[in-house]
């Protein structure tokens, strides 16, 4: 099993990166556990949220509404609104993962920011499921373990910001996004989305600006702009071994070696 996970350098790198993402974001589970308990949730409820909801923005939203004196059900409504961002991710992941039946039922719980970002990172689309599942499972394991620790120990371990994790997380997402910014439409869309989100920060509740950025994706699609290089698409449709499509990227040299292509 481990052999198959790591049978090429590119796949080994994906596994290592995925575990790193799991560590950096999982650490925030400590904060979640601590905040949930101080907001009036029991340890069991905090752990149930991390196990069953398993999407940080929604969990923090529910706990935040309750902490500020709101009704739990209105907190749930806010959490569900924020959870719609995972629906948007799923639309992209559906084509990348092509999971059916029981695998889809299981994969769905792992659809979060981190697993989506890692699914996008591999140069070779066939490695997308590896990035998705290893990251999803790593974050799931650490997020839940950390929630339990935080729920019992409270803030004893300190704020993740002390360790610079509040910078590590956006830097990680940016690094995963980076290879996707190869085309001009992708760069323009990313900058417009970022500016739109920042403009909405003061006016909307946390979480909304990120979902609103999805409107930029709709505009891109309706305008007929391709975010990805045209040749890189269709490789999953044909499953072709002749992966010349990947070589049409920024540098043609060296990409004949699939291992090299995965290493940035």
């Amino acid at each position: 099993m481990l052999g198959r996970l790591t049978d090429t350098p590119a796949r080994r790198e994906i596994v290592a990166d995925s575990l790193g993402v799991g560590l950096a974001t999982g650490a925030y589970g400590v904060s979640f556990g601590a905040i949930a308990v101080t907001s009036g949730f029991s340890v069991a409820q905090a752990c149930a949220l991390s196990l069953l909801v398993f999407t940080g923005a929604s969990q923090f939203a529910l706990v935040g509404v309750v902490a500020s004196g709101g009704a739990p059900m209105s907190g749930a409504a806010t959490a569900l609104m924020l959870g719609s961002r995972n629906t948007l991710y799923g639309i992209k992941l559906a084509g990348l993962l092509r999971v059916r039946g029981l695998r889809r039922i299981c994969a769905a719980q792992l659809v979060i920011d981190e697993s989506t970002a890692m699914a996008l990172k591999p140069e070779d689309e066939r490695d997308a499921p590896l990035g998705f599942f290893v990251t999803g499972l790593a974050v799931f394991a650490l997020w839940n373990l950390a929630t339990l620790v935080g729920a019992f120990a409270g803030d004893a371990l300190g704020d993740p910001a002390t360790y610079g994790l509040d910078a590590a997380v956006p830097a990680a997402f940016l690094a995963l996004l980076w290879p996707r910014l190869a085309t001009t439409p992708a760069r323009v869309a990313a900058v417009v989305a970022a500016l739109l989100a920042l403009a909405l920060v003061p006016a909307t509740q946390p979480g909304v600006p990120v979902i609103a950025a999805g409107a930029v994706a709709v505009v891109v699609g309706l305008l007929g702009r391709e975010i990805e290089e045209p040749a890189s698409d269709g490789s999953h449709a044909h499953g072709s071994q002749a992966d010349g499509s990947q070589a049409d990227g920024s540098q043609a040299a060296g990409t004949a070696d699939p291992d090299e292509a995965g290493r940035r």
Partner: protein
């Protein structure tokens, strides 16, 4: 409280499953495919901006932004992923330590 926990859990799972369950014939339509390709780019770009530049509903620029900028330098220098992440964390932590 348990009711809110369970409603949130069921709803969030359904939202995740709904995205993964969009049928192939819809996904294969060119407009849908273009939108689907653009979604993670726009959402993750927004997420990075919000995480790097805001606290709650306030726009902020602090040690965190410097750390992310250091991570960008590492990216431009083609550093491996885990190095980029570590550079951002260490830069921010050290800045906070000395300030």
């Amino acid at each position: 409280m348990w009711a809110a926990v369970l409603v949130t859990a069921a709803g969030c799972y359904a939202l995740k499953l709904a995205g993964l369950s969009v049928p192939d014939n819809v996904l294969d339509r060119p407009v849908v495919r273009r939108i689907a390709d653009a979604i993670p780019v726009t959402l993750l770009a927004a997420l990075v901006a919000v995480q790097a530049l805001s606290s709650g509903q306030d726009l902020t620029a602090d040690a965190r932004l410097v750390g992310v900028a250091a991570g960008v330098v590492a990216l431009v220098l083609r550093a491996p992923f885990l190095v980029v992440v570590a550079v951002a964390a260490v830069t921010t932590a050290l800045l906070r330590l000395v300030s």
